[in-house]
Symmetry: C2
Subunit: 228 residues, 2 copies
């Protein structure tokens, strides 16, 4: 069986408000509920663990009840950083025989269940796989505001989530990260750091992260095009 960990961050200062990004409304439904529904629809996922700041757990549980979330096995209080929070989520998984763990940002509500299933399947096979998209812009390596080189665009990808790993690989990666006090840009980097090869599964640019106020409006547009 495979488990998803949904990482819900704290209050987003970049949103200019006091409401955590995962609770913002997207077509009248909170972002995190959209996200959970996508995981409900993903047949590869049996259980879902939500990691949220401790002062937001009651709000989340109210929403989960109001919107009849079905696939939710545990809600865990997060730590001081995203890495700590995910680590708490991993440690909360008590079921034996967990195969793949899929880690996903609560604020990526538009991931498709098909993309989740494909990424889990790839990790099941290879041990580690993440959803990602190819770069479309020209990408530069810059130091002190001066371009050092133009990177070979065909080799550059943007990581998204879910990022999926065999449970034993993930535990080794996090143990190593905690021991060496690493601050990664994503979970994949922790796994790369222990020498495990991570494969990419091609996603699409609709799987956006809700980071800025205008992202909600963009997400609503994407939802409209999805339905048509």
């Amino acid at each position: 069986m495979n488990v998803a960990i949904i990482a819900a961050g704290g209050k987003g200062s970049r949103m200019g408000g006091e409401v955590s990004k995962q609770f913002l409304l997207l077509n009248d439904i909170p972002v995190i509920i959209h996200t959970l529904r996508r995981f409900e629809q993903a047949t590869s996922i049996s259980d879902v663990v939500v990691v949220a700041p401790s002062d937001e757990i009651s709000t989340f549980l109210d929403l989960a009840s109001r919107f009849s979330v079905r696939k939710l096995s545990n809600v865990v209080a997060g730590g001081g950083s995203r890495m700590e929070s995910v680590w708490k989520g991993i440690q909360s998984i008590r079921r034996p025989a967990v195969n793949v763990v899929a880690i996903h940002d609560a604020v990526r509500p538009l991931v498709t269940s098909e993309a989740i299933d494909r990424t889990v399947a790839a990790a099941d096979k290879s041990g580690a796989a993440i959803l990602a998209i190819r770069a479309v812009d020209s990408i530069k390596k810059v130091v002190d505001l001066e371009i050092q080189s133009t990177l070979r665009r065909s080799e550059i990808w943007h990581a998204q989530t879910p990022q999926c790993f065999h449970m034993d690989i993930l535990k080794r990666a996090y143990a190593n990260a905690v021991e060496n006090k690493l601050s990664p840009t994503d979970d994949s980097e922790l796994v790369e750091n222990i020498g495990v090869k991570v494969s990419v599964v091609e996603g699409d640019n609709k799987n956006i992260k809700i980071t800025l106020p205008e992202d909600i409006a963009l997400a609503e547009i994407i939802l409209t095009t999805e339905e048509s």
Copy 2:
């Protein structure tokens, strides 16, 4: 004096229609007209050259007249590739004493005149400068669908336009590119290739490129937030 070259591409197959992206309407005004207005407002720019596919020049001239475009010195028929088109634009500049040439995508209508002026000023000083934004995603180097490394995010930037260069540098870069049949991802790369250091000027993520149908809706949202 400084000149802008606005590169208008051909029919965008990714848009699913027959209308070239630069003619799509954004709040009832064609994208390229928005772009030209931003350059009209930029005090650093004296002249504007538009390079467009030959079969779209009459449409463009009608629009330029209808929307009373003021700053437009020349309209040039483009070539088979973006690089060829820009090269034709460069060669069409007959005025002596041109200092900086600012090359800009017609389909980036939301660039601010302030960002144009800042980039031109930086190029005036250093010889070569482009507008760019810092990467926010985790960026991976990927070969054969396998992650090779996570790039140091603080060093990764996305190139935008305008890309601004001293006229003599730009001519040398293009002459070299034509001679060596280079196919660059942007104009900056051609300049980098002749060993000239290019600096980056930090822009913002509102300066989007209209590439997909949903980009028009996103651009309208950005325009709304700009006005408020």
